[in-house]
């Protein structure tokens, strides 16, 4: 659980000038969009936490044209969602077995893997690890935890510029990572409609600088800051825990919904758009997806290549709170709850 860099980890990434880092991230995002007008999204059904998730994740990444050779010897940061863990609500946070499985996949490909999160609501990170069961899971894998809320930070230019913040503070582990793997839980969100791979990256923002909750981001606009953070982080992919999900008053107080799905993709926007369709939500009505469309990735179904299962037969409407700001998320006005 220590965050101490070892002798071989010379903080090379951390020595990169912050402006150069942001420029690289922004350039990479634009380059990706130009060279990848379409994106692959892999869906696996009938998944359980007792199943062979390592194989599913590995197959999914390969199906999405992820090249394992690109991460051999490189740093991979797995970023689960541990926003406000509670033993009573395991459907709120990324399941520990998902994290263990991803560790195994990337270790198997020769990557230098770490797991990190900056819980958004719980200031005691150790308590968040206990409540979520992730502490034991990491101990089993002899895996350290990068506490993104309290780690050394550096300023990185806001490469998205949708909000008024000129820069973000990112923790060392995020700046040093060659690949950040967003590992969200498939959930509804009582303000945004849904939360997925892109929103999960709120957790790379350090609480020590932004608070608990990260209210600076809220005051600067949730959709805008979600977009900007995604534009400013370097190379990203996602593995979504869509097995036991949350509907209704998510992302904290919602009710369990079993889907048995794993989603994988190398473009977070495309995966989130597909996740929305699975939940019977119109992707272009999700404010941060509307902002990201064709800038960080495609949300148009015609430009998303389905790998594994198709989403249409798996669509299963998630209940959404019956509130004015959420009613436009569906065409038919069904499946709302008070």
């Amino acid at each position: 659980m220590t965050n101490v860099p070892n002798e071989h980890q010379d903080r090379r990434g951390f020595l990169i000038a912050s402006a150069a880092t942001a420029a690289t991230a922004a350039g990479a995002a634009v380059w990706y969009q130009r060279t990848h007008p379409s994106s692959d999204v892999f869906i696996a059904k009938n998944q359980t936490y007792h199943g062979d998730l390592v194989r599913t994740i590995r197959d999914g990444l390969i199906a999405c044209q992820f090249d394992p050779a690109t991460i051999r010897g490189k740093r991979v940061l797995l970023k689960p969602n541990l926003v406000e863990p509670s033993r009573a609500s395991p459907h709120m946070t990324t399941h520990p077995v998902m994290i263990q499985s991803a560790i195994e996949v990337f270790r198997g490909w020769g990557a230098d893997v770490t797991v990190g999160e900056g819980p958004g609501h719980v200031r005691d990170s150790e308590q968040a690890l206990i409540e979520s069961g992730v502490m034991e899971a990491l101990a089993d894998m002899r895996m350290p935890f990068e506490d993104l809320n309290y780690q050394e930070v550096r300023m990185v230019e806001n490469a998205g510029k949708a909000c008024q913040l000129s820069s973000f503070y990112f923790p060392r582990a995020v700046i040093e990572a060659d690949l950040v793997v967003s590992m969200p839980k498939m959930k509804t969100h009582h303000w945004m409609g849904m939360t997925g791979a892109m929103k999960n990256l709120y957790g790379v923002i350090p609480g020590i600088k932004y608070g608990w909750p990260k209210n600076v981001l809220h005051f600067n606009g949730i959709p805008q800051t979600v977009f900007d953070i995604n534009a400013s982080v370097g190379r990203r992919i996602t593995i979504v825990d869509g097995i036991d999900c949350m509907e209704g008053d998510g992302p904290i107080m919602g009710t369990p919904k079993s889907m048995g799905l794993i989603l994988v993709g190398t473009n977070l926007t495309a995966v989130d758009a597909t996740m929305a369709r699975l939940m019977d939500i119109l992707p272009d009505r999700i404010p941060y997806l509307a902002l990201a469309a064709d800038r960080l990735g495609p949300i148009d179904d015609q430009r998303i290549r389905q790998r594994g299962e198709r989403w249409e037969p798996l669509r299963n409407p998630f209940k959404i709170l019956d509130r004015e700001h959420l009613r436009h998320l569906r065409k038919d006005g069904a499946h709302f709850v008070t």
């Binding site: 659980m1 220590t2 101490v4 860099p5 009573a88 005691d124 150790e126 209210n215 600076v216």
Partner: protein, 345 residues
């Protein structure tokens, strides 16, 4: 684990056994652990949040308090001087000891300076007195943003406490820290301290405990969490005119103590329950051996973290913790009547 009995004597010495009821080898283990930790603290009081991380204000402030608790005055002076050197011209102390901010750690710095001043001779303590007075001036200049009150939120969004970051809403934990600072530094009668107390009471969940800051959102009551609950109790202890507004929160913490609890949350919880014992006529027969040993062992397994160890060490000083070294506070008539009207409604 905790039973309520009628007025047993409270443990009163920092180095006293944590469990006088169980004089077995467990006591020896904790005593050994404390001796090791004091030695470590003495050797390096200026630390970061984790081993290898940069020195930061919160860990240094708690190191100072732990050093004061165990009469390691050289370490306490070293830590307090580190904070003093980082104090900005406006009186603030930033989380990373720089000029950039945010500055919520000013509160903890003030508490550390004040407690060191108490232990120092008058002349030597003057520089710390100057530091915390400047710190208080900064705190009084910083307010959380009021936001429109709608049906979406259950808490009173018009009460002004302290934000984590300038320009954002008031939240429970920075408000609790600021209230503690004001009480420690003799400003408990200030209207801002009075409003802070109101805010903390307003943010308690009816069934007990506190979330990180909200109570009800979009019609749903949120779940309580240990650390903000415990911080509320510590900040509000020894306040007159409060009948039993924190009773459910105290019971919540008592129950949580029976479950695995992380080091920082446990440290605040021990402070909270000890403070309740100090405040109430019905005192607790508290026994913290098991949770302390459990947290120490867990910490030992996962990482060498001096900051978390310092917090546990500080909490192990029980009633002698300098964090609890405050005089009584009285709520103003206005605050009391506001409270009563809320209870009625």
């Amino acid at each position: 684990m905790i039973s309520i009995v009628s007025s047993p004597p409270m443990p009163s010495k920092a180095n006293q056994s944590l469990s006088s009821n169980q004089p077995d080898r467990t006591d020896l283990v904790l005593a050994d652990w404390k001796a090791q930790q004091i030695k470590r603290l003495r050797a390096k009081p200026t630390i970061g949040y984790a081993a290898g991380e940069p020195v930061a204000a919160e860990p240094v402030a708690f190191a100072a308090l732990a050093a004061v608790a165990y009469e390691q005055m050289d370490a306490a002076i070293s830590a307090c001087d580190c904070l003093r050197q980082a104090q900005n011209p406006d009186g603030s102390v930033a989380v990373n000891l720089d000029a950039i901010g945010p500055y919520w750690t000013t509160s903890l710095s003030c508490i550390a300076w004040r407690q060191l001043e108490i232990r120092q001779r008058i002349q030597a303590g003057e520089k710390y007195r100057t530091a915390y007075k400047r710190g208080l001036d900064f705190l009084l200049s910083l307010e959380g943003e009021r936001i429109s009150r709608t049906e979406a939120t259950g808490h009173n969004t018009q009460l002004v406490g302290w934000p984590w970051v300038e320009g954002t809403h008031s939240w429970l934990e920075p408000t609790a820290m600021a209230l503690l600072a004001m009480r420690h530094c003799g400003a408990s009668e200030h209207p801002r301290a009075q409003e802070a107390a109101e805010l903390l009471i307003d943010r308690q969940i009816e069934s007990g405990g506190a979330n990180y800051g909200n109570t009800i959102v979009l019609g749903q009551t949120l779940v309580p969490h240990v650390m903000p609950s415990a911080m509320s109790v510590v900040a509000l202890h020894h306040i007159e005119s409060l009948s039993d507004p924190l009773g459910p929160t105290i019971r919540y913490l008592q129950n949580e103590l029976n479950r695995p609890m992380a080091a920082v949350s446990l440290a605040w919880t021990i402070h909270a329950l000890v403070s309740v014992g100090l405040s109430q006529q019905q005192r607790f027969d508290m026994e913290f051996d098991w949770p302390l040993r459990s947290a120490i062992n867990r910490l030992h397994r996962i990482e060498d973290n001096p900051h978390r160890q310092n917090l546990l060490l500080l909490s192990a000083s029980l009633a002698d913790s300098p964090l609890l070294n405050m005089s009584k506070m009285k709520l103003s008539t206005k605050a009391s009547s506001n409270r009563k009207s809320q209870e009625t409604s």
